[in-house]
Amino acid sequence: MIIATHPVSPEEVMEYLDGELSTAGAEAIRRHIDTCAECAGIADQFRAESQSLEQWNVPAIPEELDRLVHSAATEASTGKKLSNPKGIFMRAAFWSRGQWALRTVGALATLGLLLLATIPLTFNRSYPKTAMYEVAPKNLTALSVQTDQLSSQDHPAPGPPPLPSREQESKELRPVGMAAKLSSPPPSAHTQGDVISGGGGGGAHLDTFQATAPMIARTASLSITVKDFAASRANLDAILARRHGYAAELTLSTPENSGRSFNTSLRIPQAELTAATADLRTLGRVEFEKQSGEEVTQQHADLVARLKNSREEEPE
C-alpha cells in the first residue's frame, strides 16, 4: 500500500484514470505513474476492474422502438399532445418530495373532512330531528348574565347617553351564558344576554340516559339593557329560583365613566330553559340573542365510562 509520504494517493490515481483532473494535474500524475511501480500497479488494478465491468453486456435494444419513438417525436413536433400510457401513476413518478408531501397532506385532510362530514350525517339519520330534542336529557342549562347600569351622574343630561360600545359588549359575551345590561339614566334601557343550555352534562342523570340517544347541550346567549339595575338583578335572582337553576359564575363591574355591567353564567334544567329565557327577556330590551346546540353524546359516553371505571377501582 502507499505510505503517507507518497506524493500521489490512490484516489488521485482513480481521478486521473476517470479524466477528472485538470491537464496539469493529469500530466503530473502520469509522470509519477511512469516512475512509480506501486502507483502503476494501482492504476492497472483500476483499469482491470473497469474492463471486468465491461463484460456486463446488455443485448441490443429492440428495433421496433425506433419506429415507435420516431412517430411519437413526429406527433410531438406537430404540437400534438402525447398520450401518457401510465396516467396518474407515471405523473406521480415525476413529483418532487415537496409535491408528494403536499399532495399526501391534502389527501389526508380531505379524507378527514369527509369523515367529519359523513359520520354526523350517518349518525343523525337514524333519529328524526324532532326526536333529538324530545329525547334530550333533563340536563342543566347554563346561563351567564351580564348587567350594565349607567348612572345619571355618569352621564349628564345633555347629549346622548354614552352607552358602552357594541364592540366592548361583544367582547364581554361568553360562549356559555347570558349577559344583561341595565342602564338607568338614558331614555332606553339596554340589556344584553346570552343563554346556553347543555344537554349532556347532568351528572346525576348520566347513568339513566340511553346510550343511543343523541345528547344536545343547548346554549342561549342574551344581552339585555335594563333601566333599573338593582331591580333587574333582584328579578334575575327570582327567575333563577323559579326555574330551579343556579349561578355558576357572577361578575359585576362598575367602571368609571361607564355603565355597570353584570355578567353571569346560569345553569338551568333543560326543561326550564325555554321558560327561563322567556323570563329573562322580560327584564329589559333584548339587544342580542343567540341560541346554539352541541352534541355531547361522545363526551357523555366517556364520562360514564370513566365514572364506571372509577367506581370499580374504588376500594371496598
Binding site: 490512490p10 484516489e11 482513480m14 481521478e15 476517470d18 479524466g19 477528472e20 488494478q45 483500476f46 476492474e49 473497469s50 471486468s52 465491468l53 463484460q55 456486463w56 453486456n57 446488455v58 443485448p59 441490443a60 435494444i61 429492440p62 422502438l65 425506433d66 415507435l68 419513438v69 420516431h70 411519437a72 417525436a73 413526429t74 410531438a76 413536433s77 402525447l82 401518457n84 400510457p85 401510465k86 401513476f89 407515471m90 406521480a92 413518478a93 415525476f94
Partner: protein, 207 residues
C-alpha cells in the same frame, strides 16, 4: 470522460449534419420542430438508456427494459418544451430515467406486497457467467456506492454529473466511488474461486 460542450446551444439553420451537433443543440433544434434532431438523440442514447434499465432491473423485470426506455424518451418528448440548454442533456435524460425506474420499483414492490407476485426469480436466463459474477459482486455493494459506480462505469458520467443526479457533493461522489471500487475488487476476487468448478457447471447448465 466524454466531453460535451454546453452553453453553446444557439440554433442556427446551418448545413451542419445532425451527427456533428451537440446533444443540447439537437434538443433545442427539436424544440423548434426538427424531428430529425430527436431521431439523432434517440440513436445516440437508446442503447445507453436501455442498458441503464437492464442493469438495474432484477431478472424477471429485465424484459421491461425496452418499455421503460420507450417511456423515458416519451417523457423527454413531453418535457422538451421545458428543457433548459444550460443543463447537460444526458444528465437531464438520466434524471428522467431514474424517476421512471423508481416508479417501476414502487409498482413492483406494491405488487409483491399486495398481490403476492414476487420479482425475485431464482432462474437466471440468458445470462453469461461474467454477467452473473459482476451482478453478484455489485449486489454486495452499498446501494449508493453501487449507483455511483454504475453511473461512472456504464453511463460514463463525470463526477459533477453524478453529484447533480444524486444530489450529493462532488467530494462525496469521489470518496464513495473510490470505496465502491475497493469493495468491488474484494468482492470479485472473493467470488472468483467460489465460481469454479461446481458453481461454474451450475451456471453453464442454466445458460
Amino acid at each position: 470522460m466524454p466531453e460535451t460542450p454546453i452553453g453553446n446551444s444557439e440554433v442556427t439553420d446551418h448545413a451542419e449534419p445532425a451527427s456533428a451537433r451537440t446533444d443540447e443543440q439537437l434538443m433545442v433544434a427539436f424544440a423548434s420542430g426538427k424531428v430529425e434532431a430527436f431521431d439523432e438523440l434517440f440513436s445516440r442514447y437508446k442503447q445507453p438508456v436501455f442498458g441503464f434499465f437492464r442493469r438495474r432491473l432484477s431478472e424477471p423485470s429485465q424484459a421491461q427494459a425496452d418499455e421503460l426506455t420507450q417511456e423515458t424518451f416519451l417523457a423527454v418528448l413531453r418535457a422538451s418544451s421545458r428543457y433548459q440548454p444550460s443543463a447537460l442533456f444526458r444528465t437531464w435524460l438520466y434524471a428522467i430515467g431514474f424517476k421512471i425506474l423508481r416508479a417501476h420499483r414502487r409498482k413492483t414492490a406494491f405488487r409483491a406486497t399486495f398481490l403476492g407476485t414476487s420479482d425475485r426469480d431464482p432462474a437466471i436466463e440468458n445470462s453469461i457467467l461474467a454477467d452473473v459474477m459482476i451482478r453478484q459482486a455489485m449486489g454486495k455493494l452499498d446501494r449508493l456506492e453501487r449507483e455511483i459506480l454504475m453511473l461512472r462505469e456504464f453511463e460514463q458520467l463525470g463526477y459533477a454529473e453524478i453529484a447533480e443526479l444524486l444530489n450529493l457533493p462532488v467530494n462525496t461522489v469521489r470518496s464513495r466511488l473510490f470505496r465502491a471500487r475497493m469493495a468491488l475488487r474484494e468482492s470479485l476476487s472473493a467470488s472468483a474461486p467460489a465460481l469454479s468448478p461446481k458453481t461454474l457447471q451450475q451456471f453453464e447448465e442454466r445458460i
